[in-house]
């Protein structure tokens, strides 16, 4: 499997009043045409990793890495103008809550059309057609009505599907999904995930799935990276998650309630300060 993305020694730092805070500390991994999950609690640095790849982290945040290679080209060396070509066209991102991640005063149609015309010279009519196609691809049944509607009129599940449609219009190779289902009702989560899954497979894309939900990630992804305090503490294949070695991962697994194996007490995760200091595990296949 060819490597799409290769990241070596990524650091993300934020200067604060009390010194410099390291959100991501020396993370290295690669991504092929696979579904890679990044799991961690709040503050583990998983979201920052995703944003750093797209170089969305702005001053005063500092992003450093040996390289962030997309098809061998180091993204960190690119100018902002070149990065704008990368964003959307080669790497895209779906965010958590469509209520907030869609522009409330633009119609959905206008936002979709904009997504297309940013990376392709198309007339409004052509862009409109493409937008309708995409909406149908994410199983939206009444695409014409949705085109003229506003984001606040959409339910959570529909909003997230629209978001996926919008982000896939320019045909990127890599999709970063930052907690895409965390704001959705459980009943709708599965639907949105299956749509995302189908599209990623159809287009042969690479997917980075960022979440705090270990269960979800283990079902949905091929490989899982577990992050803690800005470092990767473990890498394993999703179907071998139960064989995980690191005490943090075991602790996470142990604290999940299970219907088929009920226990009188759930484990409380005991954090070992040494996890913070151990070097980051390399997440390459």
């Amino acid at each position: 499997m060819s490597t799409l993305l290769d990241i070596e020694n990524l650091w993300v730092r934020f200067p604060t009043r009390n010194g410099i805070f390291d959100a991501v500390r020396g993370v290295s991994f690669s991504l092929g045409r696979e579904r890679l999950g990044i799991v961690g609690e709040s503050g583990s640095g998983k979201s920052m990793t995703g944003r750093a790849i797209l170089r969305l982290i702005r001053h005063p945040g500092i992003v450093e890495a040996d390289h962030i290679n997309l098809h061998g080209e180091n993204l960190l060396a690119k100018s902002e103008r070149d990065m704008r070509k990368v964003r959307g066209e080669q790497i895209s991102m779906v965010m958590q809550d469509p209520k907030f991640s869609l522009n409330p005063v633009m119609t959905i149609g206008d936002q979709l059309i904009e997504a297309h015309r940013l990376h392709a010279k198309a007339t409004k009519a052509e862009a409109r057609k493409k937008a309708l196609e995409m909406l149908e691809a994410v199983s939206i049944r009444d695409p014409e009505r949705v085109m003229g509607a506003y984001p606040h009129e959409m339910s959570g599940g529909m909003g997230q599907r629209i978001m996926i449609a919008m982000m896939l219009i320019p045909n990127p190779e890599i999709l970063i999904a930052d907690e895409p289902t965390s704001a959705l009702d459980v009943s709708v989560q599965g639907q949105v995930l299956s749509i995302m899954d189908r599209l990623v497979k159809e287009r042969g894309m690479g997917l980075i799935f960022i979440s705090h939900d270990l269960n979800l990630v283990s079902q949905f992804c091929d490989r899982v990276l577990i992050m803690y305090a800005g470092r990767i503490v473990e890498v394993c294949d999703a179907n071998r998650l139960h064989e995980a070695q690191h005490p943090y991962t075991r602790g996470l697994l142990g604290s999940l309630p299970r219907f088929d194996a009920p226990r009188p007490r759930l484990e409380v995760l005991q954090r070992d300060p040494s996890w913070r200091d151990a070097p980051s595990v390399e997440g390459r296949t």
Binding site: R84, M95, Q96, F100, S101, L102, L118, Y150, H152, M163
Partner: protein, 352 residues
């Protein structure tokens, strides 16, 4: 069966579609506020220690003359009846007679209004055209020197008395530097030389094709208009900055960047689009404030508008003029507020 009865009882008592009901509620709300305004001015007029009858008949009037005038002014009737007549007068546009000009207060207003309108309008244009971009840039380049300057401009605007700044401006730009015309709308030479079409000298001189007069009028209006414009600029830039900061930290801005948009496109097509409606409210409010500001400014620049009319009337206790001015300015305020509320409802898709 019992449920059916209560259901019919609960139906709204006005069989109108919701939009009509909404408009009716708004209109009645406006009417009540205006009535309240009139009531307050009415009370003020009745509270004064100066006897309005004496003001008309003079101190040497006989008792009969006094009583006759008393009855003619309607002061012998009950307060409620007096209020009723007051309101009906106002609705007909009759604010009484001015002691100073001996004319109708309402015709005085009509005559003087264009001058104030011209001044306030140019002021607000100044404030908007400079204030909005300043606010946007201050928000985008937060903490930079532009942001600091914007902050200083706003602080000064909120702390300096407008009449004093106007005086200083006259001293500097007219007295010392001689860059602008002095008090008044026109130089003596140009007075009454332009046929009055709209009452706004800038416009009228353009219509008459008289460039010299236009330049003269401009040199006289530029200082007071800039003065008003400065205060408007301070307010508008501050609010714009505040609105933009709110938008720039929103998630949809990140989405726009992820889509590959350039930063300026993100700022104007996305963030700014979200504050347009709020800005309209701010600008309307600022315009109303400028009308108020003109009260203190016109007197400094000998600008013959409504502001100086009210202040002159104040100093001579010409209550009809003062109260009339209060009502008119108050009505303009209310109308501007309603106007901006309406625009909000029309332009913000979320309020539908």
């Amino acid at each position: 069966m019992a449920n059916f009865a209560t259901e019919t009882e609960r139906r709204p008592w006005l069989p109108l579609p919701p939009w009509a009901r909404g408009t009716l509620v708004t209109l009645s709300s406006i009417a009540v506020t205006m009535l309240g305004l009139l009531f307050v001015t009415f009370l003020i007029g009745r509270v004064m220690p100066i006897d309005p009858v004496l003001a008309i008949v003079g101190e040497r009037a006989t008792e009969e003359q006094y009583n006759a005038a008393y009855r003619e002014l309607g002061l012998d009737r009950s307060l409620a009846v007096q209020f009723f007549y007051y309101v009906s007068d106002v609705l007909r546009g009759d604010f009484g007679t001015s002691l100073l000009t001996a004319g109708d207060v309402s015709s005085d207003f009509a005559r003087l209004f264009p001058a104030t309108f011209e001044l306030a309008t140019i002021g607000i244009l100044f404030g908007c055209i400079l204030g909005v971009p300043l606010g946007v840039i201050a928000a985008v380049r937060r903490g930079s020197w532009i942001d600091q300057i914007a902050r200083v401009i706003a602080l000064v605007g909120y702390s300096m008395p407008i009449f004093w700044l106007g005086l200083m401006g006259l001293l500097l730009f007219y007295g010392i530097l001689g860059w602008v015309g002095g008090p008044g709308r026109q130089g003596i030479f140009y007075e009454d030389m332009i046929p009055s079409v709209t009452g706004m000298i800038l416009v009228d001189s353009l219509i008459a094709g008289d460039w010299a007069a236009f330049r003269d009028a401009f040199s006289h209006i530029v200082l007071p208009a800039s003065l008003l414009g400065y205060y408007s600029l301070a307010y508008i830039s501050r609010m714009t900055r505040s609105f933009m900061l709110e938008q720039l930290s929103a998630e949809y801005i990140t989405t726009a960047r992820v889509k590959g948009m350039s930063e300026w496109a993100v700022i104007w097509s996305h963030a700014f689009r979200n504050i347009r409606v709020q800005l309209i409210t701010v600008i309307a409010l600022s315009y109303a404030n400028l009308l108020e500001g003109s009260v203190l400014t016109e007197i400094i620049f000998a600008w013959p508008g409504i502001g100086s009319y009210i202040t002159t009337a104040l100093l001579s206790a010409d209550m009809n003029a003062v109260l009339g001015g209060t009502v008119v300015v108050g009505l303009v305020f209310i109308c501007l507020n309603i106007f901006s509320d309406l625009l909000y409802k029309v332009f913000d898709p979320r309020s539908k």
